[in-house]
Symmetry: C2
Subunit: 345 residues, 2 copies
């Protein structure tokens, strides 16, 4: 289609600032004949405090009509932990069946990393997005008493595991190294572990060119710091994916440059793109936030909508900017301007 109808959710804290830069770069990179329409939605702490609402059925109906969603960040210390996460972020991922949570990690030359020796890092994590311990199953009895019992149920289905494993194999097949690592904890979580491992081996037979291996999640965290070059594509469950992608972001340039896509490959519902970082209320409104993660999320959005050349242009612009930025301190706006200028030229 020659138009993009985008839902924009700036959200809380630095969300507003970084999303503005993402939109700036998006407008700059799109061909003249592509009409960009945006509609802004006011979700997050402000709306919650004003109305008690996080995400209503009517909201979902409105969001559903867009081609994609760009999100800044949701979350504020004034809201009890869990309310916006479960009531907005996870609700949206589940409602729109965002089962492929895509999180690339690439360390560029010259970019700061806490690891010694500037290792090669270029992998992508395919995190399952709609199952596992994130379903909200579980409960509490005898709350607040010495006999309280609280449970969390990780739910894993053949349907849910297979589709994300398939997605990961297809991605591995399309990359030069063609390597896929399953990360789980199948020696302890044996029920879910069997399902993941069996599904992984079954689908592997359809991808004879893809080299596969398996790591327990604890061992995976070791390799992420001692030998991150070993990874090409990783597929893992929702919670393990949450944990290892923050670590992956930390070692490959920091949370300021980590992008993510909450993708529904069937396109039945719009996919959502967001930086991995949160709302960072401590630096909000000061022009200090790095919009790079949001701009890279825009690249994932473009690729998802079929604008491959534009996605690649945005990524190239970010790579050039990152390798050249050195020690210069720039404002959020200045970084956005620099990236917009690069993609336009």
């Amino acid at each position: 289609s020659h138009s993009i109808n985008l839902a924009v959710i700036p959200g809380d804290g630095i969300g507003q600032e970084v999303v503005a830069q993402g939109l700036k770069v998006l407008a700059a990179v799109l061909p003249q004949d592509v009409k960009l329409e945006t509609e802004e939605y006011d979700f997050g702490a402000r709306r919650y405090h004003a109305t008690g609402e996080t995400l209503t059925d009517a909201d979902l109906d409105s969001l559903k009509k867009h081609d994609a969603i760009l999100l800044g960040a949701i979350g504020d210390p004034s809201v009890p932990s869990g309310v916006l996460e479960r009531g907005f972020l996870l609700k949206l991922r589940f409602a729109f069946d965002h089962h492929v949570n895509l999180r690339p990690s690439k360390l560029l030359p010259g970019v700061a990393t806490p690891l010694a020796g500037q290792p090669e890092i270029d992998f992508v994590v395919v995190r399952e997005g709609t199952e596992g311990p994130y379903t909200g199953n579980g409960g509490t009895i005898r709350k607040g008493t010495p006999h309280e019992v609280a449970t969390e149920v990780s739910v894993n289905t053949a349907f849910g595991v297979e589709r994300v494993v398939r997605d990961a194999f297809a991605r591995a097949q399309a990359r030069p190294r063609k390597k896929l690592t399953l990360v789980h904890k199948n020696n302890v979580l044996t029920f879910a572990g069997h399902l993941w491992t069996d599904t992984f081996h079954k689908v592997a037979q359809e991808y004879p060119e893809v080299t596969t291996d398996y790591l327990h999640v604890d061992a995976a965290t070791i390799f992420l710091v001692t030998d991150p070059a070993r990874f090409d594509v990783i597929v893992t469950d929702n919670l393990f994916g949450d944990i290892i992608t923050d670590l992956a972001a930390a070692v490959s340039g920091g949370i300021g440059v980590a992008a993510s896509g909450n993708i529904n490959p069937s396109r039945e519902f719009p996919s959502m793109f967001e930086p991995v970082h949160g709302s960072a209320p401590d630096i909000a409104g000061q022009g200090k936030a790095d919009p790079t993660a949001t701009v890279l999320s825009v690249a994932l959005l473009l690729r998802h909508l079929g604008y491959e050349a534009e996605a690649a242009r945005v990524e190239k612009a970010v790579e050039a900017d990152l390798t050249e930025r050195g020690a210069t301190v720039r404002t959020t706006d200045e970084i956005g301007d620099a990236l917009a200028a690069r993609v336009a030229s």
Copy 2:
């Protein structure tokens, strides 16, 4: 008491080699008048293949009579994933109620770390050892079909959480920095998260001198590589503890030097001490394994049994050995001899 009656479980792979060094150092450090009795148990892959047994009720009855247990490593690729883990390691932790899983991390000067800039690392993780997603609760329906559903239930009780939180506060109180960080994922796992967070705040009131904070597990992995010096004592659940202690080991000298204690503070059952590393079958029998983690586990064992001065002597010996070892390649035996010589002198 002036005798130690120790159960020794060398186990699989490098277990045999490293345990021998641990015993060597133990014998060298103990005062002349302390009688050391050891009984070796043949658990692990060999026993499983020969008899199909991993750990019987009779085994538990025998083990129960010892003052403590020293374990090398259990696990072999010839045994299906989960069989020895659930059938031996976890069964023992649960049977002997090893609810305090203690894992110290200390980076010594000159010791290799994947982190740039040789940061200061000196913290201890108190990992809950008998609850959470490790209980084995859960199950599978329609196994092997497209409609399979596999669940894992994390079980958390007020009793189980409070006792380990109390243990962690007491440890934090006894350390110079007196700082305790709760690691969980209370914004997503809200049922268990409430229990952990509420318990943490409740017990905190009894420890006004202890500074407290909270980190989501994903954020904790970031800080473990960007600012590990921020940690003093960490308390966390069984699975998060498993994950972050492997990462902690990786950044603070590697898995070759990471010790752990599976402790039952009530002393109702013997506690078990083991290196964090596994059986490493790829290097077994070659004299290449580093016994340092086992020797440091012996220090934890000594401290648990009340031999504080001897524990400190073992730790000092390891510190001296590590800072002075440089690039010399030594055999398992040579490292054990060097450590035994240091503690004896």
